[in-house]
Symmetry: C2
DNA sequence: GTGAAAGCGCTAACAC
DNA sequence: GTGTTAGCGCTTTCAC
């Protein structure tokens, strides 16, 4: 079973093109012939070879996704959103997990290209984006999520307003009576780290609170740095007191909470806390963590729609045209107990 | 940039085969020629077309993974394990999320085959496995994880000892003084649901505790059924009292806890609880949830190694040979507060 | 309405 | 050590 067009054709004494026409539902096939062919297709359980098709048609109906950590709910949900839209159109997803490593990301960028994905979704962790050139110069649409690179050409991206997210978080803490607010942010050379830090500073300034650089810690989004940054903050609490903290990633938030508890401090009494991307639908975490959340499913769907649009343009005009879009969604502040007044 | 072998060849006035030899590091190329070709390859930033290669070589260096829910930590971690091993060997992963739907699974099974994946990893949610025939009859190795199908031929799988998992969970509850133990399990037509339920019954019998079918509830692994099953249990508590519960999936555990809290009951005082696949490294959930855990990373790596082995066999003998392996790993019981004596 | 044939980009057997 | 050639399975143009 599942042989080639040729097999089916010679079985029925028709030409491959006729069989191909039936497979692809083209007209100009006699109803009788069609019926015969359809029968044989069924009988031999024929399934077209996408590889051959791709080579011929010069597209693969495949899109690539490179993300830093599939086990982060944020990315998993985005993938689900993309998958929902794209799988209906018979696209397949090639997924690679860079594990926060720029080297792996670069390797994967090549591997994806080698696979000739029609389009790429990238949550970059790299500062160096020369490997993207092959996509750009070959007219392969790239859509950025989460982090966006600093490039001298326009890009498509679907992100949230990161400054706004921070302003919401910090204003909320201030509104609840906290003035000495620390932040655990990401690498400021990445847009997410940078923008979220900027928003934090802006919010403080707007409230006439001086920015204390000793209350700014830089992690790498992973749990252990959330832990170590918080530990440092707590250990220097005498010189640099704080009673609120804002942490810009899911896993760092977990690590930070762990550190706070280990030091016998309580949330929110000693430290009011706002996290990021905390999904605790069932309310299992006590106290409930106030968090900035991103509309992952929307992001995924919008990414998919944008890709479809770019691919259509390309099919029409031969190249990715249209003005690149920065689609910026609003973050959501989910208020729970961790940030409430004492 | 990134053109074809032909382009490079005509640029240098050599044949495509020479260029191909250089690209593939074959010998029988004059060092001088090699150098020239290498230079051109670099200059034009040549990246081989995997699609053409796949068509010619009759394998794609691609493996497919179909799972029911990428946002479950269990599956995400398995994928990371597989990826770690396979990406080093230049394999790419095509991922599809069936979202617990048998229809989607079947569709994806076809789509994967159409993509001519070299091998398939499947966590099936279906009772009907005829779509697997195309893999079997075309000698494409399939490795099952999590759930295994009831088929009349041998299969490769990497799973945990599900009966043992339940026995550990139930014995632990009994050891902590609970005798009236409920279970929220999965569909008993699936092996995970069935085996975990069997283990539960066995453990009770071994302890001379009668099985009360009113304390057995069937969910679908998702959060809302964990919630509704627990609700039912609690509402019929007068007739069918219980003071311990064992829940066989991550998300159902979350749902169940939510229901327990909403009814004003406490864990472990009113209900001692053992969950499944709960990863709470930072100890955020209070009380800490005692849980059966699976060694996901190991599972992923073993799956990948098994695939490599099968693919090697196939390369050698032309077909997937060797006796199919059921690799059964031990579950781990992580004891926290939720199951401790009052 | 149908078939013949070229060709997508590559590999590999064979010839020289 | 290098080139020529056939062909992987398919789509599509062009004849008829």
């Amino acid at each position: 079973m599942a042989r080639t067009l040729k097999d089916i054709a010679s079985e029925l004494n028709v030409s491959v093109s006729t069989v191909s026409r039936v497979v692809n539902n083209c007209d100009n096939v006699h109803p009788k012939t069609r019926k015969r062919v359809l029968g044989a297709l069924k009988k031999y359980n024929y399934i077209p070879n996408q590889v051959a098709r791709s080579l011929k048609k010069n597209y693969t109906e495949t899109i690539g996704i490179i993300i830093p950590d599939i086990s982060e709910t944020f990315f998993a949900q985005i993938i689900k959103g993309i998958d929902e839209v794209l799988s209906n159109r018979n696209y397949s997803i090639i997924l690679m997990d860079s594990n926060e490593s720029p080297e792996k990301e670069e390797h994967y960028l090549k591997l994806m290209f080698q696979n000739r994905v029609d389009s790429l979704v990238l949550a970059t962790v790299s500062k160096e984006h020369s490997a993207l050139n092959m996509y750009i110069s070959n007219n392969i649409p790239v859509v950025f999520i989460d982090n966006i690179p600093n490039l001298d050409y326009d890009i498509d991206c679907v992100i949230i307003n990161n400054q706004k997210a921070s302003i919401m978080a910090v204003n909320h803490l201030i509104g609840n009576g906290r003035k000495d607010i620390a932040i655990i942010t990401g690498n400021p050379l990445e847009t997410t780290g940078y923008e979220r830090l900027e928003g934090y500073k802006r919010a403080l300034r707007q409230n006439n609170i001086p920015v204390n650089s000793n209350l700014i810690k830089y992690g790498n989004y992973k749990e252990d740095t959330g832990y170590s940054c918080m530990k440092e903050l707590i250990e220097h609490r005498a010189e640099n007191p704080f009673n609120g903290v804002y942490i810009i990633s899911e896993k760092m938030t977990y690590g930070a909470i762990k550190a706070i508890r280990e030091h016998g401090l309580t949330i929110p009494e000693d430290i009011a806390l706002v996290g990021f991307d905390i999904h605790d639908k069932s309310g299992l975490i006590t106290p409930g963590i106030t968090s900035i959340c991103q509309p992952e499913n929307d992001i995924g769907k919008i990414v998919a729609e944008l890709i479809i649009k770019r691919l259509k343009e390309k099919a029409k005009s031969g190249k990715v045209s249209g003005i690149r879009q920065r689609i910026i969604l609003d973050p959501i502040l989910e208020v729970k107990v961790s940030s409430q007044p004492e």
